[in-house]
Symmetry: C2
Subunit: 324 residues, 2 copies
């Protein structure tokens, strides 16, 4: 189905948008595929029209909506928490996983697998009420800075994806974050930086327990995993939280593959997009990270005609703080 | 803070409502408490004003939004499924729990506790994909009838609560169902009868697993409990799905007590309401059911000044099918 980009933008303008749509996206197949999809599902009377309540779009977070290098945001939080708590825990000196993390040796931690990661999460994320944890995260993000750009981590969001979130919402979509990151960790800042409310955030979680402390009802965070929202967990998390299948999904790694498969397997117009990190000058260029690979997802994208964003080619601006 | 009912209705009318607000509610303390609360949290500049995105209201389902007698809706589904599946399961003849359920002996099933209930749920709710389960539920609710009223179960909703849901939404609230019932069971019909979308339904769940069946991604329902959304589970489910504390909660039994405690414990205007089933002529009159008691919740309501609806006194109409 051929679409004129000019016509699509004119259509959007008619709906009240005066600024250029997706201004940080260069004209090309990636941008055109987004505009074409949105036009098809929002055109009344079109055979591919989708009712507004079914316009569900799901976004991975790390590497898709913002940078995940040199370490993913939550890993930076874990390391800083370990440093802050270490003086109270002399027994940690005998713990090789904690010592590796304190030394910033992410490779050694990753080599320990889920068990090592789980241990670090538990000593930094459990043992307090949900409100206390929120306060700890709020305090940290107000000052923690990215080592390369020397900016708050929350400045490292991708301008083109902010525009995409806004564009989809302006077209009746409900946008969700679906991340392997901690659900309660993310909810502290997701609304502020993406305009996505906490009830539209899906993530990994530890068990919480309702109890009365001195007559006050609290939820206490226990040192026990509840759910891992990554790989095959993402469709499970989506189904549990949303209860209907998305029609559009956005990711950047093999951890997002099952989410993209789940979203696109159905009749009707469906959209899947992978962000490919190809710009080492403005951001980072990589296909393998401590978090996982991209090869299975890229292969499937090619076979199924999913959209692949080449950041260097497709985005004329990466971060909001860059000059236009 | 004294409020004139006439003023409040006038205020609502000014916001575009032409019909009388909460028409099926008799004038009295219950109705006045609802109107007063909504006025306080929606009046711009008021010290108790709450931003629209924080106007979260949570509703128990069985006994709060619709009738739960003589058996709760999902129990009727379980019994009908057992009857339909029994011919394929001759081994069930030796199973006393299943035989009790087939004979409609809810007391005997309840006496078996969580274990007996769990067994019945697993043989009727697991072992199929999520889409297959949805189809089974859809087919059943299209024909299953309530034994006393000889109507579809979905007709047995409380008209005053439908009006309340609409009134809250017209005032910027986001309404959620928070029920001990199965989340996937409820999502099939909740949107149609209450106008609440699936992503705003919280309930009990079994484990689902993502897998590829003949190249098609599916979620398979496993015979394993995932989460029980009742009693102390309700605040946990609310926190997991919504990620912020409600400002209003509505229930009818001790299973809702912790949800009401969690909602009302905080600064600012908060609202809690219990539906008390006092009308045996038009509905049912009871304080204890197979599902649980009401005494702890009623005692706390009295101590804390929560609103208690006396159905006989406060509601001039119970079901939508009654003449006005």
């Amino acid at each position: 189905m051929a679409t004129s980009l000019t016509q699509t933008i004119a259509g959007s303008a008619a709906r009240g948008q005066t600024e250029a749509v997706l201004a940080s996206w260069n004209d090309g197949p990636a941008k055109r595929s987004v505009l074409d999809f949105v036009r098809r599902v929002t055109t009344t009377g079109s055979p591919e029209f989708v009712k507004p309540e079914e316009r569900i779009a799901v976004f991975d977070n790390d590497g898709t909506l913002w940078s995940e290098q040199p370490v993913v945001f939550q890993a930076a939080f874990v390391i800083d928490r370990l440093k802050a708590l270490a003086p109270q825990h002399p027994e940690w000196k005998k713990n090789p996983v904690i010592q590796a993390a304190l030394a910033g040796d992410i490779g050694a931690v990753a080599a320990g697998g889920q068990r090592a990661l789980g241990e670090l999460v538990m000593v930094t994320h459990a043992g307090m009420t949900t409100e206390e944890f929120t306060k700890i995260v709020e305090d940290w993000i107000a000052s923690a800075r990215h080592p390369r750009f020397n900016r708050l981590y929350t400045d490292l969001v991708f301008q083109p994806m902010l525009e995409l979130l806004g564009y989809l919402r302006a077209n009746g979509f409900k946008t969700f974050v679906v991340s392997g990151g901690g659900i309660e960790f993310m909810r502290v800042w997701v609304e502020k930086i993406y305009g996505i409310p906490p009830e539209q955030v899906i993530g990994s979680s530890i068990v919480t327990k309702f109890e009365m402390l001195a007559g006050v009802p609290v939820l206490t965070r226990l040192a026990q995993m509840n759910f891992v929202d990554d790989h095959a967990g993402k469709p499970v998390g989506i189904h549990s939280h949303i209860g209907r299948r998305p029609i559009a999904a956005f990711g950047n790694s093999d951890g997002d593959l099952q989410m993209l498969q789940w979203t696109t397997e159905n009749s009707g117009a469906r959209f899947a997009l992978l962000v490919h990190h190809t710009d080492g000058d403005r951001e980072y260029a990589y296909e393998v990270s401590a978090l996982g690979k991209l090869d299975a997802a890229l292969t499937e994208a090619k076979a199924k005609g999913w959209t692949v964003v080449d950041m260097k080619r497709d985005w004329n601006r990466i971060y909001p703080f860059e000059a236009k």
